[in-house]
Symmetry: C2
Subunit: 406 residues, 2 copies
């Protein structure tokens, strides 16, 4: 018998009607004979509502009491889901994070799961009960409620699946992972199977289907992962399987095109070229939790000096410039209004013409490329915000995805 | 140093503004040097909202998962109150019922507090922290969340005060206990001191200031109780002290006039007069948790038969008639549209003219009396709903309360 952890996000439990539809999907899964545990987010909009209550009193994410307020969101949806399952004649009960023994460390609002004694959940499963666990939450060693940060319910689900040696199905409002955003390119196709690494790159490069941390966790613990839609009729969503690369029989060269708007570029001209000075810059940014991408270093005209450029999210720009203020760069420039388009695929490292295709496709659309950065399974181009849609469509075609089959 | 448990009801934490006002009252109390623990209800309207969510899925009060949903209400208000206290520069943290080790038994929705290990709260107090406990909730021995029933936050506060050997201040939206409802009789005055027993009778006869169970608990554990307003400026509400009768120096004969609208009267004509049959009737009603009052038994014309009459809340009538269906009464009659007015006072048992004053005052108003029932400290009359306001005013004057001084 397969054990399956089914996770339902905010839109999948966003109303009593949506909770009922999701319950019907769970009931159908149970009817197939699988042993099922459920993990839920708060009802869509509820976390924002609770956060604004705390905010009105001057407390935001990162405060212990804000976590207590936020945890109530998943508490409510978990209990309502257990009720909805009982409407199907199933036995079900809710578990708060602390009841499921999810132990956390790290700061409020961004805690890490440090332990998960799944025994209460396992006991419930053994009694033929469907446990519905409140996602996004746990308790610290001194019994304070903690939340795992936005998207943390994915992480709760993957961690529970790992503890139960179970499959993990992430139900969301799209039918899986697509070759690119269908709102931009109607020819986008659902990807049937994708490797953890490609999923990670797509998530890091802007695809919002799955939280990066949970994809990393799933990879590290080899949790078989599936992303599928709760908006389809029970059993009708095929979704995307996420697995080890070696388990995918037919690998395509390119899996998908991701994009992220509203990037900023920072250029440090004439910074000391010794590695300690450069490490200090990135250390400061890391400490401020600012993600850095597309790093380019080149020699400056002055001896022992270098020019350093990199991109960050536009919303982090002000904080980043404060961090950088302490460097010895002769000049600090910043630019906004930029976007990143990225091609992700396991086959990219075997192809010599990857960059040629990228430059060719974007050149034909007269889209100026500021910077190009590559990794083993990814090539990204920095362009202007305006060019994103044309670039995505051009790359989707150029890398042969328009005709790709799920 | 006095330890004080300050309880704030739904209207006292009904909005962020109200939470801030109540926090100012707590801060003022702390500034006087008392050691303070706080107990809060859910924000006004929140319990009803959560109950209707559960209700839409077909689950009501009495279900385990309904309790999980409802508990979220106090969880949110407790954390918000802790935040508001920190705005005053105070150290504060929230405690859910389970974190404060409130152990319950009894059914979901109407659990009893079976144990309260106040050590986590005591530790917080010892560290100069103001603990804010979520009222109305606890956890069963198998770690399920439980609620104590409507008004249960009063009970949480009194139980915590008993465990801490503390005073218990119940903050509400009125400035204490009044000689009668000021909306009916503007001459109603605040009662400065009242005995537990009188408070119990007033609560049982319709005064909504304090939950009956919590007044009983306070009496049994001799918890000094005070009812006062959170809508006054800090320190400006004098409220009503509730204490042992012997501690009240100047006792008035009558303390107050209570009333309860929408009563129903049931008459069982010709029921077997043996006590087993009569006990069976009341046993069935007690099992259905239906409160019975104003019992009158008289001999029927038939030998060994009796006529039995009593009153109940109108909303319990249908259920009550089902319970009674099994009796051997020749005839069962019921009547609605009735109300109960009650005169409560420790001095009533020493006065021979109590009934005379009642009949005289109501007679002068041409208010027909159906039944009269008396106890040591109470006399009640059953009248028609229409007559309530006139009756309350007439009795308030007749028993000398119009000029009573707080």
């Amino acid at each position: 018998m397969t054990t399956r952890v089914m996770k339902f996000g905010g839109t999948s439990v966003g109303s009593l009607e949506r909770i009922r539809s999701s319950a019907a999907i769970i009931a159908a899964e149970c009817a197939r004979g699988d042993s099922v545990a459920v993990v839920v987010s708060a009802m869509a909009g509820e976390t924002d509502r609770l956060l604004s209550l705390a905010g009105s009193l001057g407390f935001g994410l990162g405060d212990e009491e804000t976590d207590v307020v936020l945890s109530a969101g998943e508490q409510i949806s978990a209990a309502l889901m257990a009720m909805a399952l009982r409407e199907h004649g199933l036995t079900s009960r809710s578990f708060m994070g602390w009841q499921a023994r999810i132990r956390t460390d790290g700061p409020p609002g961004a805690a890490r799961i440090s332990g998960l004694d799944a025994s209460p959940i396992r006991t419930a499963l053994g009694e033929g009960c469907i446990p519905v666990m409140a996602g996004f939450q746990g308790a610290s060693v001194n019994e304070r409620l903690r939340t795992l940060g936005r998207g943390g319910t994915d992480l709760s689900a993957v961690a529970l699946a790992a503890a139960l040696s179970a499959h993990c199905d992430i139900y969301t409002d799209v039918d899986g992972v697509f070759t690119t955003d269908p709102r931009i390119e109607p020819k986008a196709r659902r990807i049937g199977k994708i490797s953890y690494d490609e999923m990670l790159e797509l998530a890091a490069q802007g695809a919002k289907v799955l939280q990066t941390r949970s994809a990393e966790f799933a990879k590290a613990r080899s949790v078989p992962l599936r992303v599928l839609s709760s908006f389809a009729e029970p059993g009708q969503s095929e979704g995307t399987m996420i697995m080890q690369a070696e388990d995918i029989a037919e690998r395509r060269i390119v899996s998908g095109i991701a994009y992220a708007r509203d990037q900023a570029r920072i250029a440090l001209r004439g910074i000391s070229a010794d590695s300690a000075a450069l490490a200090a810059v990135f250390g400061g940014l890391a400490e401020a939790d600012i993600g850095v991408d597309m790093i380019v270093q080149s020699p400056a005209s002055e001896t022992d000096r270098a020019n350093l450029e990199f991109t960050i999210d536009r919303r982090d720009l002000d904080r980043a410039l404060v961090c950088i203020g302490e460097s010895d760069a002769r000049d600090v420039l910043s630019e906004t209004g930029l976007a990143k388009v990225s091609v992700v695929g396991l086959g990219l490292n075997r192809r010599a013409d990857v960059a040629r295709i990228l430059y060719g496709a974007l050149g034909k659309q007269k889209i100026a490329i500021r910077t190009v950065a590559t990794s083993e399974i990814k090539i990204s181009a920095l362009i202007e915000n305006d060019g994103v849609e044309h670039a995505v469509r051009a790359l989707h075609a150029a890398y042969g995805l328009d005709g790709a089959d799920g």
